[in-house]
């Protein structure tokens, strides 16, 4: 666990998190985030993880999946368009990552959500959306490996 962190630094790290929230479809390499927070790249990655409990690229992934789920649920935008709108460069990567994280394919989620009734209209949209954010407490590659139950699967480096 992390120890105490300087509130002034945390406020600047929050700004980087806010920027990812506002434009999760964009690319957010560490150097860009570090610039927003006015800290060095090495300092940024570690401080962000200490502050928010997960590395910045994984946080970005949770926001992209959250947004994709929201679009699947609430719009008729095609799955291909959703993939590109939420920041993926290929439909295949989107579908695979989405399934690895949520446990179902984008199409299955859409069909299931459509069938369900929602009583959430009184809750502001962003809070409803946040409630659907995946709790990505391990790397996607690790999650994949655990689910495959195969220790021989090579670990691929995590890419947002």
């Amino acid at each position: 666990m992390s120890g105490s962190q300087d509130p002034e630094l945390l406020r600047r790290l929050l700004r980087a998190k806010d920027r990812m929230d506002a434009a999760s479809h964009e690319e957010w390499p560490v150097e860009r985030l570090a610039r927003v927070s006015l800290v060095s790249e090495a300092h940024f990655a570690r401080s962000f993880r200490d502050a928010f409990g997960l590395p910045p690229h994984r946080y970005l992934l949770t926001r992209r999946i959250e947004r994709a789920k929201s679009l699947l649920r609430d719009t008729d935008v095609s799955i291909t368009d959703i993939a590109f709108q939420t920041g993926w460069k290929s439909l295949g990567t989107f579908g695979r990552t989405f399934r690895d994280i949520t446990g179902e394919s984008p199409g299955d989620l859409r069909a299931r959500e459509r069938a369900a009734q929602h009583a959430l209209e009184q809750v502001p949209h962003c809070f409803v959306s946040a409630a659907h954010r995946p709790d990505l407490n391990i790397a996607v590659s690790e999650k994949r490996r655990q689910e495959a139950g195969d220790i021989n699967v090579p670990t691929k480096k995590e890419v947002p």
Binding site: R11, A51, H125
Partner: protein, 138 residues
Amino acid sequence: MTQGVQVAGLYVRDQEEALQFYVGKLGFRVHTDAKNGDYRWLTVQHPEQPSFQLGLYTPGPPILDAATAQTLREIVAKGAMPPLVLEVDDCRAAYDRMRGKGVEFTQEPVTRYGSTDANFRDPSGNGWKMIEARKVVS
């Protein structure tokens, strides 16, 4: 109305800075500003909501010990305090006005399902959602 919530408070990193923000940029009014030594009881009000006060407090002695105060300052700066919602008549106009005064917006106005909302933060990190409710057609 004589019964109901009278005061709900926020932790801020600096009361003077918070006062400048809520009064100078958001258009709230000071309701009570009472100092006693290091302690300052500061509440502000929305001009159209005279029955409710928003308290602006710094965590610290004599109410809280130094370690607890530090923890709270960190939590506020991380934006982890509960969400706040401000209702407005015209979200885009309020956005333009507040942005012109230097308010840090974290989401531009977006219209969905007939209502428009934007997000901003106070200097301490407290997050606000500003909502223009859907107009009810009767």
